[in-house]
Amino acid sequence: MLAVKTLVSAFRHFLLVRWVKVIVRFGLGSIFLYAAYDKLLHPNQFAEIIIDYEMLPLWIINIVALWLSALEAIVGVCVILGVWVRANALLMSGLMVIFITGIVVALARGAEGLHCGCFSTSPDGEPRTWISLWQEILILAGCVLLRVIHCHTAETVREPWKSENL
């Protein structure tokens, strides 16, 4: 009887972890795809938003604008399809750390109210405020969660320090 209960509990746990993984993957992937969509459509406006952050030399801004939007789209698609999830989760976390740093530096300089460039490039949308910072921190937490739940298979729970489980 005990063995059956344990089996049922293990199966439930397996299902729960699997569904949590799928939900987090789809959620984060969709957020990144949504964020990339408008930037891919209007690279010129996204480049102007990057100029306003005043953190990069002018000569590199066009390339960064094109690359960042493509990177967001590709990691979004990969995560939804379940391709190289750990590597993509690492990249997503890195991207979020860069975005958060940008927003913090801009807000600290007193550039509040300029365009955030987080999800839209429209001149009317998304002023850069402390709320956009919290929104980015929440997404970063999601990226870390994605990475953690994809590392926590049965073996990694037993021996999380092993390099092959990272």
């Binding site: 010129n44 002018l58 190289w84």
Partner: protein, 187 residues
């Protein structure tokens, strides 16, 4: 004191552990990370070739980022003296100062109208009523690194203005050439 040290030790170990784990994770995924970054760069640059708003990848001395290739082909650049001569020769030419209002009020080229970049979308309907789209429009901003006048120029070209020119090095060059200015002079 001993209690404090007892508390600190595991915290420090955790921090070192996190850093170590992060470095190992990056190293272990390095090949995949490089592939994703490289593919996204190729995708971004390839997409740009066929994009109607494609951006130039290299910028000339007068070009600024965020302005599509097709607009650069329609924007002209003139130096301050040439702009002044054009203004004197033709009264139909309009000189627009795109700097912030307070800088405009302090000092601006004589006869220039204020049309700050920050309020472009709000002010454009009135501007379009007063200025026909075939009129010669000269744009001026702060100086060498100022990207505002090409940005306003880009928006005007996108809205159908056919004769837009940007003054190279902006107000800095205007003052340097000793051309007439007016304004309150107050900070």
């Amino acid at each position: 004191m001993e209690e404090l040290e007892d508390v600190r030790e595991p915290l420090e170990t955790n921090c070192v552990g996190f850093g170590y784990r992060l470095v190992i994770a990056i190293l272990k995924n390095a090949r995949r990370l490089v592939i994703i970054v490289f593919v996204s760069l190729l995708f971004g640059l390839g997409f740009n070739i066929y994009h109607p708003l494609g951006l130039p990848l290299t910028l000339s001395e007068v070009q600024r980022p965020g302005i599509p290739v097709w607009i650069w082909k329609r924007l002209r650049f003139v130096d301050a003296m040439e702009a002044y001569t054009t203004l004197q020769a033709n009264r139909e030419v309009i000189l627009i100062d795109v700097r912030d209002r307070k800088d405009y009020e302090k000092s601006h080229p004589k006869g220039a109208l204020s049309f700050p970049y920050r309020g472009f979308d709000r002010s454009f309907p009135e501007f379009s009523v007063r200025v026909p789209s075939d009129r010669v429009v000269l744009l001026l901003c702060y100086g060498t690194d100022c990207a505002l006048s090409p940005r306003v120029g880009s928006r005007l070209v996108q809205r159908g203005y056919t004769n837009v020119a940007v003054i190279k090095k902006g107000f800095e060059a205007w003052e340097k050439a000793d051309l007439p200015v007016e304004g309150s002079g107050k900070e």
